[in-house]
């Protein structure tokens, strides 16, 4: 299954599409950076309140009236930053998991992290302790995610060779299925109100964004991002084969261990901050691969930028399309992501 996606970008028929996009990886990164910056500005400028751009700029600079300042600086800006970081984190983790598991269908939640987080969050909501503090749900979700990581890793490590990718994948799927059963069990006993908020949490939302959640994610994303970007070359070699990677000088077990833990913790942090937001981690790395190839030196930073831009756009749409009501952002990511992805797949065959 894993070797069936040869890049056709160099086939003669693809020359036309190739000319439409930057040839080099560096050019593509610049382009994605610009797109991300535009999306960030748009996310701050556009909102239910319909503020003119001039007032938004003034508010950012510290001028203007209190309400505008509060909307722009305390609501939109932290939310946009959280969206950018979450989108980037999920896409980056997705790209790493796809390389680690040597499987283009892997995504950030495939190893059970989201299931564990959801058990924690739903339990907190259903048991009624969520009301105690706005921090209860994120902390419970984080605890659940960490528990899931520990359990999956224990299973994979117990099954002999450290981090056999097939065992890891199976363990993740099985543990995820178990957590799903636990969630359904919890929801069975939930009252209508907590049922609703639990379901909304699981659909993912950035509405809980604040400067402190954004700062917390940033504190984790920064070192994790640097560490994972540094693994780009070993991941390239692992994609050729573990034996090959070893003979080219990669400490295979160590790289897999670091990649697995850092990426999992990244997912855990983002799920704790804003629930389970699907499709980004699967689709963004895939789309980038189809467009520019699989070199992880390009793919990892590109995933970070493209994931950020994508979630910024999706969240802006979620906030504004049905304003004042808010659509679940996970629905938007799927509604935009899937058709774009299908288009990319279809074009590849030209």
């Amino acid at each position: 299954m894993s070797a069936v996606t040869p890049a056709r970008a160099d086939a003669p028929g693809a020359a036309r599409t190739r000319a439409l996009r930057p040839r080099s990886a560096a050019g593509a990164l610049v382009l994605l950076g610009v797109v991300m910056a535009v999306a960030l500005v748009a996310a701050v400028a556009i909102g239910a309140a319909g503020l003119p751009l001039r007032e938004v700029v003034a508010a950012l600079a510290g001028a203007g009236d209190d309400t505008t300042r509060a909307i722009v600086r305390d609501l939109r800006l932290p939310r946009a930053l959280l969206a950018a970081m979450t989108g980037g984190a999920l896409a980056l983790a997705g790209a790493v998991f796809q390389a680690l598991l040597r499987n283009p269908l892997a995504e950030p939640y495939v190893l059970g992290v989201s299931g564990g987080a959801a058990v924690g969050a739903v339990a907190a909501i259903v048991l009624g302790i969520a009301a105690l503090s706005p921090w209860v749900v994120p902390v419970a979700a984080l605890a659940g995610a960490l528990a899931a990581i520990a359990i999956v890793f224990r299973i994979a490590a117990a099954a002999g060779r450290m981090l056999d990718t097939r065992v890891l994948l199976l363990a993740g799927v099985i543990v995820g299925a178990f957590f799903n059963a636990v969630i359904l069990l919890l929801l069975t006993f939930a009252e209508a109100e907590s049922f609703r908020s639990a379901v909304f949490w699981m659909m993912g939302s950035l509405s809980g964004a604040s400067w402190s959640t954004a700062a917390l994610l940033a504190v984790y994303l920064l070192p994790a991002g640097v560490l994972l970007l540094g693994l780009a070359r070993p991941l390239n070699l692992l994609a050729v084969g573990e034996e090959t990677a070893l003979h080219l000088g990669v400490r295979v077990e160590r790289v897999k261990l670091v990649a697995y833990f850092v990426a999992s913790l990244l997912v855990a942090a983002s799920v704790a901050a804003c629930g389970v937001i699907g499709f980004i981690g699967l689709i963004i790395p895939h789309a980038l691969r189809l467009a520019w190839g699989s070199d992880h030196r390009f793919l990892l930073p590109a995933s970070l930028l493209a994931g950020a831009a994508f979630l910024l756009v999706a969240d802006t749409a979620a906030r504004t399309l049905a304003a004042p009501a808010e659509l679940p952002v996970g629905v938007i990511t799927a509604l935009i992501g899937v058709p774009v992805f299908v288009l990319l797949l279809a074009r590849r065959r030209v």
């Binding site: 890049a7 283009p104 692992l238 003979h247 080219l248 699989s294």
Partner: protein, 332 residues
């Protein structure tokens, strides 16, 4: 058995060493450092038993390895000395331990008993990266998880020199291009690997190993499933590398007759033990080959033309010729 081997080693070292090895070499070998002497090293370097400045070769003593839950050991007391330079072929029936031996020699498997050394240093003491700067490996099996181009794959050979962050410099680019020229795949550089034929792909993987600028090249069944032309191309290439480039080539193969023509020495494995070791002429006798492969054969001479005319060529016999070996099979 091992004494017999030593004798053969010493004899072979005397006759095989190019440019007439110092007449003293066999003598040195007899005088207390037989293994190092047999590896063709200058007498001076072979003097000490703890030979830290040893030549770039593999040595192994008493290797034993049994896979978990396996009934029989994959390696059962294997000794080996790969002399520097030349082509060293490891032969043997399926399941005789060839690939396991390679894994142990490359530090990918730790033997349960015995010790393997590279350049005089135990494999356990090498980091993967140190080893990769000196040994280029072409594994038997590779399955790409994601599509990449020929140049991208060859450039991976620079990883042991660059590590995770250092950028490709002029020297790296030159090494990559040289390797692709050497393997005649430069014109394929921008092609996705998946669009190449099996033979082309194998040449590209050898180019990756050459981009490492190794002193030793290890190939695990490099010509399995290739046509005659590609098979010959690869054997010609590795023989030329060993002859001109000063690279030591170690290869595992099922093609006895090409090994007989291109290898300077052959190690024949049989169920985890060394059945014979030495020059092709000495190893590929009718008795030895029939005993190891349990099939009737005759050994002919390569008729030529070519510089390898006269090399032993093993011909496996069809049905009728098998009478006496069926007998020997029954005897076992």
């Amino acid at each position: 058995m091992s004494e017999e081997r030593e004798v053969r080693d010493v004899v072979a070292a005397g006759s095989a060493s190019p440019g007439g090895a110092a007449p003293g070499a066999p003598a040195t070998a007899n005088a207390g450092a037989p293994r190092a002497g047999a590896s063709g090293a200058p007498a001076g370097a072979a003097a000490g038993p703890a030979n830290t400045d040893a030549p770039a070769v593999f040595t192994a003593r008493g290797l034993r390895f049994t896979y978990p839950r396996a009934a029989a050991p994959a390696l059962d007391g294997v000794d080996l000395d790969v002399p520097p330079g030349g082509v060293y072929a490891i032969l043997g029936p399926n399941g005789s331990g060839k690939s396991t031996l390679l894994r142990v020699l490359l530090g990918a498997l730790a033997p349960q008993a015995g010790e393997a050394r590279y350049a005089g240093r135990a494999l356990a003491e090498w980091t993967p990266r140190e080893l990769a700067r000196r040994i280029g490996v072409v594994p038997q099996h590779e399955e790409l998880a994601f599509p990449i181009t020929v140049r991208e794959l060859v450039a991976m050979g620079r990883y042991p020199h660059l590590g995770n962050w250092r950028r490709e410099g002029e020297a790296d680019r030159a090494a990559i291009e040289q390797a692709m020229i050497r393997c005649d795949v430069l014109d394929l550089a921008d092609r996705p690997l998946a669009t190449l034929s099996g033979g082309e792909r194998q040449l590209v993987r050898i180019a990756r190993a050459l981009a490492q600028q190794p002193e030793t090249l290890v190939l695990d069944e490099p010509t399995a499933a290739l046509d005659i032309r590609h098979e010959m191309e690869i054997f010609e290439l590795v023989a030329a590398l060993a002859a001109a480039g000063g690279v030591t080539v170690v290869l595992v193969t099922h093609n006895i007759n090409l090994a007989a023509r291109y290898a300077s020495r052959i190690l024949l494995l049989d169920r985890g033990r060394v059945a014979a070791e030495g020059e092709p002429d000495a190893v590929l006798t009718r008795e030895t080959v029939e005993r190891v492969y349990r099939w009737p054969v005759v050994v002919e001479r390569h008729p030529g033309p070519g510089r390898d005319a006269g090399a032993p060529q093993v011909v496996a016999l069809a049905g009728e010729g098998g009478g006496d070996v069926r007998g020997s099979k029954a005897a076992e």
